[in-house]
Structures are given as structure tokens and as C-alpha cells.
Symmetry: C2
Subunit: 216 residues, 2 copies
DNA sequence: GTCTATATGAAGATAGAC
DNA sequence: GTCTATCTTCATATAGAC
């Protein structure tokens, strides 16, 4: 390894980059924006958090808006990745839905998930494109995953959706999983939910959905 | 009427008050805060919107925070009032739930309802008490109303909640009604939902709930 | 209470040296 | 690219006259 390092410094280190200031700035901006939102966050706070100077921030991002956009997009991508990494074990509908719901709820109810929701929703009138990105990266991806598994369950005869379409049913399920605990956490910002509490919410959502549309 | 108006000016006009500047300021603050949130709103905007001077604002409210709190509390009270004014006609569970859900959804999905949600959620870390107030004034009141009607339905044998408590079931129902359309509207701030669209969402929620717990 | 005018501080963004 | 120092604008809040 490292026999030919003549032009090494011209390449970006692909991972665990030692000190490319852009990453440092982005990480600091993430922390500051997630904690304070767009308007209350200041470039001074970001600069201090990153331990760089003001002009280093502006060397990599033309202004505060673009830095905010970069942060939100990176955060959305990160959550999408986590959703796609869910590991399913073969099993009945109820287990599959529980696995999916638990993974989704854990993301949504994490500190980062709640903070991202706050800032995206708050700034949606000013940054409508970001709101769309968020929707497509999170709820939409989760619903697609659910829809695939619902299709399997319908094929196996475990499910009867009635007049409801698969996609509509999938959206309803993930919204059923998300709504109550998310509202609870958003309006009670001091208390973080335990894993046991999350499991309870998940179980309640799965139960309702299976009672409504399960067969057997 | 009005035979004795000697001390009339010492009393507040109960309605349609001609020009008490405090009301003017509060209304202007409401418009500005709901449109821009807390941090991005400025006292200049409020002052201009109210067509009064800076010191008139500060004569009635000591600072921006307290004005914000007054706005949010008034808005919460207004929504609570609307919820308590829902008129029910005697009927089966499905109609009752539909009436309630439609009224709640109409409030939540109104421009004012969405804007209030945005700012309360965004500022919950900074104003946790306001977030609690919001929760108690809106979702909590709606859930209580639902719980009462669920109790009736259980007594009539129209409903079997299984192991789920009445309050938990009521919360789940209103969250089922709220979650999907609210997320949709929050992340697509340009498109306002039609009454027909709202009815469709309401019907989907009621159908799922009745399929899950209805008897008959 | 209400106004005009202003104090005071902090924000976003840039200049210019290295 | 990175820093220090600074420009400009605009925010919250107050002073003092009426």
C-alpha cells in the first residue's frame, strides 16, 4: 500500500478524511442548524463550532442558504440510506410490519430525525424544494418499502385491503406508525422515548392495521 | 340602550373594538409570526403591519418573546373553541366519527392551523411551555371528544376496542386522521387541499378505524 | 399611550495579506 | 485555502417630546 503517493494529495481521501475543511464545516453546520433552525442559527456559531474562520465557511459555500440546503440534503440522504438498510427476516406479515415500523420509528424519533423534521417543516414556505426532498427521502421511501411487503402479503392471502390501493394502504400504515409518537416527542422536547416506549407505539400501530386489513 | 355611558370608555368594547391598539398589534403580530416564524419575523414588520410605531408595540408587550407567546396562546384558544363548537347529530358511530374527523381535519389543514403547527414545533426547544399548551389545546381536546363518543359506541355494542383503552384508541383515531394529510400539506406548501380532498382523507381514516374496531 | 429619533449590538458577507 | 479585520445592514430595544 501507498507505494505511489506522488499525487496522493490531489485526491480526496475517500473515507475518514483527516481534515478537509469542507467536511468540518458541513458537520458543524449540521449541528448548528439542527439545534437552532435556519433563522436563529448564525454563521458565527457554525464558524466557532467548526473552529475555522468566517472566510473558510464562505470559501466552500456561497452563503447561508446554500449551506442550509447542503445540510438538509445530506441529512435526508443519510436517513434514506438507513431505511434501505433495514434487514428483513422471512416471516409472517405481522413480524415484517413490526420490523419495518420499528426501524422507521427509531429514525423518526431520534434526536436527528426530530430536529430535521422541525427545520424542514418550519422552512418549507421559504425552501419548498427542500420539503419535497425530505418527503421523497423519508416518508415516501418508507411507504414504498411497506407497499412491496403488502403486495407479498396480499399474494399469500394474509391481507385483504378492500377498496384501498396498495400504495394508499402503505402510506396509511407508515403515517399510523409515525403520527402519535412523533407529535408526542415534538411537543415534549425534554423527554426522549425509550426503546420500550417505541416498541409499544409500534405494536399499537401494527395491531390496528392488522385488525383492519389482516385476514386470519 | 346606552342611557348611562358615563364610564363607558373605561370598559373594553366587548366586540368589534374600534381601535384599541393592543388588538391591532396582536393581530399584526399574529399575521407576521404565522407567516415567518419567530426568528425571521421582526418587530419592524409587526409595527408596519399594525401601522403603529415601535414604542406602541413595546408599550403593550415587553419584548418579542412575550408577544410571540401571546399570539400562540390566542391562536390555541381559538382552535380549542372551534373544536368545542362541533355540532353532532345523533347517528351511528361512522357518522359521528366522520363529523368529528372532518371538523378536526379542516382546522388542522387550514392555513392558520398549518402555520401554527409549523411555528410551535419549530420553537418547541426554545418555548417548551408553548408546545405543551398547543398539545393540550388541540390534539388533546380532540382526543377527549373522540373518547366520549367511543364510550357511547362501546356501550351500544357498535365497537370492540379489544385490549386498547378508550383514550389510547381515541388518540390513535385523531392521529390517523391528522397524520397523512398534515404531512402532505406541510411538505407541499403551495397546494391547498380542497374540501373534497379532505373528505377523502377523512373517509380513509374512518374506514380503517371502523374496520379495525367496529362490530357489525 | 403614542410618536420620532436613536442607541447599541449583532448579523451576513467581503477585503486583502499570507 | 485560510486567516484577521472590517464593511454594511438591520435587528431589538429605549429616550424624550407631546
Amino acid at each position: 500500500m501507498q507505494t505511489d503517493n506522488a499525487n496522493a494529495e490531489t485526491r480526496q481521501a475517500p473515507d475518514e478524511s483527516p481534515n478537509p475543511k469542507e467536511q468540518v464545516v458541513l458537520r458543524a453546520a449540521r449541528a448548528v442548524f439542527l439545534a437552532h433552525g435556519f433563522s436563529a442559527a448564525t454563521t458565527d456559531m457554525i464558524q466557532r463550532e467548526a473552529k475555522v474562520s468566517k472566510s473558510t465557511v464562505y470559501a466552500h459555500y456561497p452563503n447561508k442558504e446554500d449551506l442550509f440546503i447542503a445540510v438538509v440534503e445530506a441529512e435526508c440522504a443519510s436517513h434514506t440510506r438507513k431505511l434501505r438498510d433495514i434487514e428483513f427476516r422471512p416471516g409472517m406479515l405481522r413480524e415484517t410490519l413490526t420490523t419495518l415500523a420499528r426501524a422507521y420509528a427509531t429514525i423518526v424519533l431520534s434526536q436527528a430525525g426530530l430536529a430535521l423534521f422541525r427545520i424542514v417543516i418550519a422552512e418549507a414556505p421559504r425552501f419548498p424544494a427542500l420539503a419535497r426532498t425530505f418527503y421523497l427521502a423519508g416518508p415516501s421511501v418508507a411507504a414504498e418499502l411497506v407497499a412491496e411487503h403488502l403486495a407479498d402479503a396480499v399474494a399469500r392471502g394474509e391481507l385483504d385491503l378492500g377498496e384501498l390501493g396498495r400504495d394508499a394502504a402503505a402510506r396509511q400504515f407508515i403515517n399510523l406508525v409515525r403520527s402519535e409518537p412523533q407529535l408526542e416527542c415534538l411537543t415534549h422536547p425534554d423527554a426522549a422515548p425509550s426503546a420500550a416506549q417505541i416498541d409499544q407505539w409500534v405494536a399499537a400501530a401494527v395491531t390496528t392495521f392488522v385488525r383492519a386489513y389482516g385476514r386470519g
